[in-house]
Amino acid sequence: MSVTLNDYLILSTLIFMIGMYGALRRKNLLMLFFSTEIMLNAVNIGMAAISKFHGDLTGQMFAFFIIAIAASEVAIGLGLLVLWFKRNNNINLDSLQSMKG
């Protein structure tokens, strides 16, 4: 009995679903950022697993670039969130309705 590629991919899917649930269900904008991080990490696990079981380094390379993108996403996103909180004094998703007709 050993751990196969399927086990890793199922784990990756489960973690991705947790992140997806958070992104769909939560109304706190900070929680949406956390859910995004969870989803990106789930994909990273899948990439690293395929890299191992396929004997190819490309998966790990993609995981690196995903980490870089996640870091810059956090920097910009938190900057926008701080700006929004300064203007509106809350971080509720429903307050983002200035373009509602």
Binding site: V3, A48, K52, L57, Q60
Partner: protein, 192 residues
């Protein structure tokens, strides 16, 4: 045997931590459990023989990203919890159902890359870090540089967005003007 036990232990811990992150009402609990989940995820990278990726995961996520969230949370009133209500539950159910169907379709779909050959095969003799360095600085040099520029742009953007008093250039003011310049708290006192 050790690998199997480690895999299931860390799988359980990771899923538990991320479930706490998604469900909890307290933003501080969510932050802490997210950090714990990130560290547990790095265990999978070590199990998969990607030691460098595991180290990067710990350094970047629990070192940089979590510190950034912790500092960012000081700007927010995290005690004041956000009202969690779904205005249209039918839409949420429909979206979740579509996503579930998509996942099933992805799992059932025939795997086209079953007989694909490895472009950059893993060299057992080199070790993971050396191997990654070799591929990253030869085949992926241009994306690496582009990622560096992207991180620089993100850093400048974050400073501009969250920074205070960015509309006043201190380098253009004389020392006398800087001393006379009122801070936010002084203006608030004047208003009172």
């Amino acid at each position: 045997m050790f690998e199997v036990v480690a895999f299931y232990l860390f799988a359980f811990l990771t899923i538990a931590m991320f479930t706490v992150t998604v469900i909890t009402k307290n933003a501080l609990y969510a932050l802490s459990s997210l950090a714990a989940g990130m560290i547990f995820i790095s265990a999978f990278f070590f199990l998969l023989g990607a030691e460098f990726l595991g180290a990067v995961q710990i350094v970047v996520y629990t070192g940089a990203v979590m510190a950034l969230y912790a500092f960012g949370m000081m700007f927010f009133d995290s005690i004041n919890d956000v009202q969690e209500s779904v205005a249209n539950p039918r839409l949420t159910f429909m979206l979740t159902g579509i996503v579930a169907l998509l996942v099933v379709a992805i799992f059932v779909a025939p795997i086209i890359g079953a007989n694909a050959t490895a472009h950059y095969p893993i060299h057992e003799a080199y070790g993971n870090t050396q191997d990654i360095g070799l591929v990253l600085f030869t085949k992926y040099l241009v994306p690496f540089e582009v990622a560096a520029v992207m991180l620089l742009v993100a850093m400048i953007g974050g400073i501009i967005l969250a920074g205070k008093k960015m509309d006043i250039s201190i380098t253009q003011l004389s020392e006398h003007e800087i001393d006379n310049h009122k801070t936010d708290t002084e203006i608030e006192k004047d208003i009172k």
